[in-house]
Point group: C2
Chain length 339, copies 2
Amino acid sequence: MEELSFAVDCMGGDYAPSEIVKGCVLAQKDLGYKIYLVGDEVRINPILKKLGEFNNPDLHVIHAPQTIAMDEPPSAVLKKKESSLYTAGKLVRRGEADGLISAGNTGAVLAVGKFVVGAEEEIERPAIAVALPNPRGKTVLIDVGTNVDSKPKHLLQFAVIGHTYAQEILGVKNPRVGLLSIGEEEGKGNELVKETYPLLKQTRLNFLGNAEGTDIYAGTFDVIVCDGFVGNVILKASESLGLAVVSMIKEEIKKSLLARVGAVFLLPALNRFRKKADFTEYGGIPLLGARKPVIITHGKANAKAIRNAIGVAGDFLTKDFNRKLVENIRMLIPQEAKI
Amino acid sequence: MEELSFAVDCMGGDYAPSEIVKGCVLAQKDLGYKIYLVGDEVRINPILKKLGEFNNPDLHVIHAPQTIAMDEPPSAVLKKKESSLYTAGKLVRRGEADGLISAGNTGAVLAVGKFVVGAEEEIERPAIAVALPNPRGKTVLIDVGTNVDSKPKHLLQFAVIGHTYAQEILGVKNPRVGLLSIGEEEGKGNELVKETYPLLKQTRLNFLGNAEGTDIYAGTFDVIVCDGFVGNVILKASESLGLAVVSMIKEEIKKSLLARVGAVFLLPALNRFRKKADFTEYGGIPLLGARKPVIITHGKANAKAIRNAIGVAGDFLTKDFNRKLVENIRMLIPQEAKI
């Protein structure tokens, strides 16, 4: 394989540009990739100089004068063609870079992923998958936000996309696929679920039937399929619950000296847990089904998270993810389930 | 007010009948209510005798020979007219009891609540609300499971039902109401949300706009309205996340002696937190909009949880909840928002 190159949006995220630039340097050194650092060169160059990497031939600064704020609507972004994000997307579209990484405004990254990078053949709607932790491993929840009011045929594709992600990227053999609903038996759920269930049964996926909310963090399925509205509120509610739990436990700990002493001893264990639960550790969230890897990291991504995200993008290419995805779409969904 | 009486399904739940019967005794003694203990008298009577309460004139055993399993579909339940649950529902329907409490099969309790107890006038669809904990108080999420494929007019009613619950039962003044979506601005979300938003704006509710998943445990809203499919998967995912977090933290703690020592000191604080987070402590989940209080407790409800659930049912009546609910439906939803 030729030397891989990635376009990194250096102006998106809470710690842009310094942590993003540092992450690019780490990725170049650790993984040997060529990196396009896209953004305001007046701000990026001094950081590279300070790191002693200004003359590194595999770190190219591509100047882009505009930036995108965290609250700009995705529609506005597609008009801001001089922004770091849009420019990075164009590099991928033109084949100059092999993938896009951004810690910026999620909606904006998705818009650029879908409309500038574009969808892979056979894929109707690229989808976002997140690998959520459970005591036994990980469960892929797909879609978590790009597609609302999905139709059964979209959920069918999400299932195959999730299957391919679990198998090829996470290394799960014969992933157990479930359809998110509010009861185990076939026939339980809303209209969308009731129509999707018989289609999933016809596929060659390892479809185990309906999954419930309780299955998401229980390790009973490797892939759980849902509409993007549902997946998004679950993902955000989970984040919010995590924060609330930590804050409420801290409140309780403050009330007792003994508990404060206990908390100190517990700290390393809690940190190990946090690391396990933190999906940024694993390199962000991929937009699956785009023509090239598009990785969205948490807004709070630090240098290490950016480096890991670039690593994940590389993984998708070295593992030939898109070719396998297209093959699976063709092989696993029988003609009679295509509606 | 006349002496209140409640019908308690003594055969539903993991610890039935013994914990349920004990809970009835506690409620009768603490709260002075008359209790109908509905179920298999051959199993209930010995427990009452052992507790020295067999001759208590305010504890009436009503024999019902059938029981409902945790996995029986709600449709089957409506045919099982000799079951403890159905019999308890009939006592309420006939006006012999003022409310129904069950720790049994949730779907079955809801079916009996909706079709045997029946809906209050003006209420199109009774809904389940759950008061979720956050660092500053509680957030009511409604609906969490009875109504899937809701229409905008249903969400509008859920908003008023949630408002009335927060105000009258939880004591929140002028509750801040949000519509669950995947973006803050009007126009973000799926079709249902986009159609419901302008209707909610026309009401006299304190409607703050869209809420996101992150708001559910953040204390930014007092009431968050959603379709029952979405609410149900969020509620169950939250439960599952809570269990997974505890299990993963335990795993990490096991790896280090210091952490084990710390955990011992922390235990009382963690238990206080668990109490705060455990909604069974607050007496279960009400089916709001039924003609009389119907309270569903957790399947693992112990005597105290049953006693609290009976207390909550009493609260609904002494606070005249249904009259206020009907008034609010009439007053807060203007004619032009009724579609």
